[in-house]
Symmetry: none
Amino acid sequence: MTKESSMIKRNPEGTRRRILDAATEEFRLGGYAGARVDCIAKRAETNERMLYYYFGSKKKLFIAALEHTYDAFIAAQSALQLAGVPPEEAIVLYIRFIWDYYAAHPEMIRLVNNENLHHAEHLRESTIRTSFMPVIGVLEDILMRGAASGVFRAQVDPLRFYLTISALGYYVLSNRYTLAETFGRDFMQPDERALVQLAHTEMLLGYLRSAVGNSTGP
Amino acid sequence: MTKESSMIKRNPEGTRRRILDAATEEFRLGGYAGARVDCIAKRAETNERMLYYYFGSKKKLFIAALEHTYDAFIAAQSALQLAGVPPEEAIVLYIRFIWDYYAAHPEMIRLVNNENLHHAEHLRESTIRTSFMPVIGVLEDILMRGAASGVFRAQVDPLRFYLTISALGYYVLSNRYTLAETFGRDFMQPDERALVQLAHTEMLLGYLRSAVGNSTGP
Amino acid sequence: MTKESSMIKRNPEGTRRRILDAATEEFRLGGYAGARVDCIAKRAETNERMLYYYFGSKKKLFIAALEHTYDAFIAAQSALQLAGVPPEEAIVLYIRFIWDYYAAHPEMIRLVNNENLHHAEHLRESTIRTSFMPVIGVLEDILMRGAASGVFRAQVDPLRFYLTISALGYYVLSNRYTLAETFGRDFMQPDERALVQLAHTEMLLGYLRSAVGNSTGP
Amino acid sequence: MTKESSMIKRNPEGTRRRILDAATEEFRLGGYAGARVDCIAKRAETNERMLYYYFGSKKKLFIAALEHTYDAFIAAQSALQLAGVPPEEAIVLYIRFIWDYYAAHPEMIRLVNNENLHHAEHLRESTIRTSFMPVIGVLEDILMRGAASGVFRAQVDPLRFYLTISALGYYVLSNRYTLAETFGRDFMQPDERALVQLAHTEMLLGYLRSAVGNSTGP
DNA sequence: TATGAATGAGCATTCATTCAT
DNA sequence: GATGAATGAATGCTCATTCAT
C-alpha cells in the first residue's frame, strides 16, 4: 500500500473532520430529527460505527456541529481589525461583515433555528455559549468611539444593537424560501439584496446619528 | 348507544379540528420530522387512522397546519381598521400589531422556520401562498398616505419595508432560546422586550421621516 | 376470505398467545440476552412490531413469559387433590408431582436460572411473586397430617422441606448437559432417572419417619 | 521508557490472567450472551485486541473461563485429606466442603448454568470434562470404607450420591434470588443456611446409615 | 365515522472482530 | 506485546401507513 492511500484509510483527524462536516451538512438539510446517521456516515465516506467512535451519539454529534459552527463565527468576528477605523466607517464594515457571514454560511442559520426548536438544549450542554459574549466587545468599541467623537448618539446598548443588526441580516436568509413563495421575489438575489442592505444600512446609521432619545431609556 | 354519547363520538368537524390543532402543536414542538403521528392522534384524543381519514398523510397534514396558520395571520391583518388613522399613528399601530402577533403565535415562527428548512416545498403545493400578497396593501396604504401628506419619505417599497418590520419582530422570537443561552438575557421578557421595541420603533419612524435618500436606490 | 383464514389474520388473543409461547421458547433456548426479538416474531408467525404492540418491550415480554410459567406451575400445584390421601402416600405423590413437572417443563428451569442470573429483577417487578407462598399450604397440610397421625416427625418446616424436594428434582434437570459431559451419564434417561428418584424418595421418607431431631433445631 | 514502566506494560502472563479473571466475572454477571468483550477488556485494564491476541474469540475465552473454574474445583477436591478420617466424620467434612465451595464460588454456579443453557457445547470442546470423573474417587473411598466398617449401607453408587450432595448445596445458591423474592426468605443468610444444612446433613447421614434397601436396586 | 390490529421499512445504536502500526 | 482505528452485520425498537371490521 502506498503512503498516500494508507493516509486516506488511517487518518483519525481526517475521519473525525469528515464526519463533522458531513453532519453539519445533513443537520442543515433536515434538522436534527430529519438527519439520518447512515446518511452522515455515507457522506463522510466512513461507516456509522466511526460516528459513535468519535462522537458517542447523534446528539453529541449535533452539539459538536453546533459548537464548530459557533466557533467559526466567533473566530471570524474576533479576527476583524476595526480598531483604527473611524466609527462611521467601522460600523458599516461591521454590519456588512455580519450580513455577509450569514449569507456565506447558511448552515449556521439552519442549525441555530433547529437549536431554538429544541429550546437551546444542546447549547446548554455546551461550553461554547460562554465564548460568545466577549465578541460583543468589537461592536461596543465602535459604538463607544462613535459616541466619544460625537458622531453617534450615546448610551446605545451594544447587545441590543447587535440584535438589531443581526435580525436584519438573519431574517432574509432564514425565511428566504417562504418569502420567495409568498411574495414571488428572492431577497437573496444580488440586486435585490443590495437594495435591501442599502436601505437597512441607511436606517441603522440614521438611528445612530440621531441625537434625540436612546435605546436604554433616560 | 344513546343520542348524547353518539353526539360526542360522532363529531366530524370537531375531530378534524382537534387533529389540526394537535398537529400544529406537535409540528411546533418538533418540526416536521420530529413530530410523531401517534402523538398527534393522542393529543387530538382520537386514533391514528382518523388522521389519515381526514388528511391523507402526514405531509398533507403539515400543509393543512401551515395553511391554517398563514390563514389566521392573513385574516388578522385584513381585519385591521387603519384606513382613517393618521399615517404616523397608523404605522406605529401596524408595527405593534405585527410584533404582537408573532409574540402571541410562536407556532407560526416554528412552522415557517421548518418550512424554510424544506425550501418551502409544502407551501409550493398550497394555494395559500397567493393569499399573502394582497395583505401588503394595508401597509402600502399607510406609506402612500404618509408620503402624500409629506410626513414620510416617498418611494418606500412596501414589501421591503414589510420585510424590515417583520425581521425585527421575528428574530427576537425565533432566536429567543439561543440568545438567552449565549447572552444570558431573555429578550422576550416584558421589560426587555418593551425597550427593544421602543428603539426599533424609533429607528423605523426615523427612517420614514428622513428626507434624504430612499429605499429603492438613487 | 373464508372464516378460517380471517381467524388466522385477525386474532388478537391468538397473536398475543403465539408471541408469548414463542418468547418462552426463545428465552429458554438463549436466555434473556441471547434471545432475539426478530426470532421471537418469526417463530410467532408475526412481525416485530406486534411484539411491542402487545408487550411494550423485550423486558416486559420476558416478565410476561416468566409470569406465565410461574402461573402454570402454581395452577398445577393448586389442582392437586391430596386432601383425603393418607400422608405417606400423599407425600410420595407430591414429590413425584414436583419432579415430573420439572421434567415436563424444562422451560421453567431455564427461565428461573436466567432470572437468578439477573438477581430476580424481573420477578421483583411482577405481582406473581406473591402468588407462590400460599401454594406451600398443599405440602404443609400433608406434613401436619403426617405429624398428627404419628407417621412423620413433628416440626418440619414446610418451606425448607419444599426446598429439599425441589432441589433434588431441579438439579438433575438444570445440570443435565454438564453432568452428561463430565460423567458420561444422562441422569434424565428413564432408567437412570427412576433409580435416582427411588433413592431420593427413600431418603426423604426416611428423614420424615425418623423420630430423632427435627429440621428447626431443638 | 524506564525499566519499571516497561515491566508494568509488558506483562504477558499478567495480562492474560487479568483478562481471564475479568471474563469470568463478566460471564458470571451476564452469561455468555450478556457479557460484552469491551467490558471484559475494560475490567482487565487492557484493550479488546489483547483479548483476541490471547484467546482468539469470545467463545474460546468463555471455554477458558469455564475450564479455569472447573480446574479450581477439581484441584480443591483433590487437595482434600480425608484418607485417614473415620467414614462418618469424613462424609460430613466432604459434604460441608462441597457446599462451602459452592457458596464461596458463585461464579461456578452461574457459568455452569449458562453452560447447560447451551447444552454444554463449550465443555464438549474442552478437555477438562475428562478430569472430573477421577475426583469422585474421594467420595467413593469414604463410602467404601463406611460400608466395609458397617456404618454405611452397601452398594451406594458414589456418582449418584455425589449428585444428591451437590443438588442440595447447588439449588439454594443457584436459586437464591428467586427464592428470596417468592418466599421472602434469603436461604443463603448464615442462620437460615446453617439450619438447612443441619437438616440436609442429618437426612444424608440417615440415609447412609439405614440398612434397608439401597440406591442401586435389588 | 370510528377503531384495534397489522405491517415492512427504517431508526439510532452496539456487536464481535480485524486492520495497520 | 500492545494499541487506536476501522468495519459490517446485527440489535432492540419506532416509523408512517394500511387492513378489516
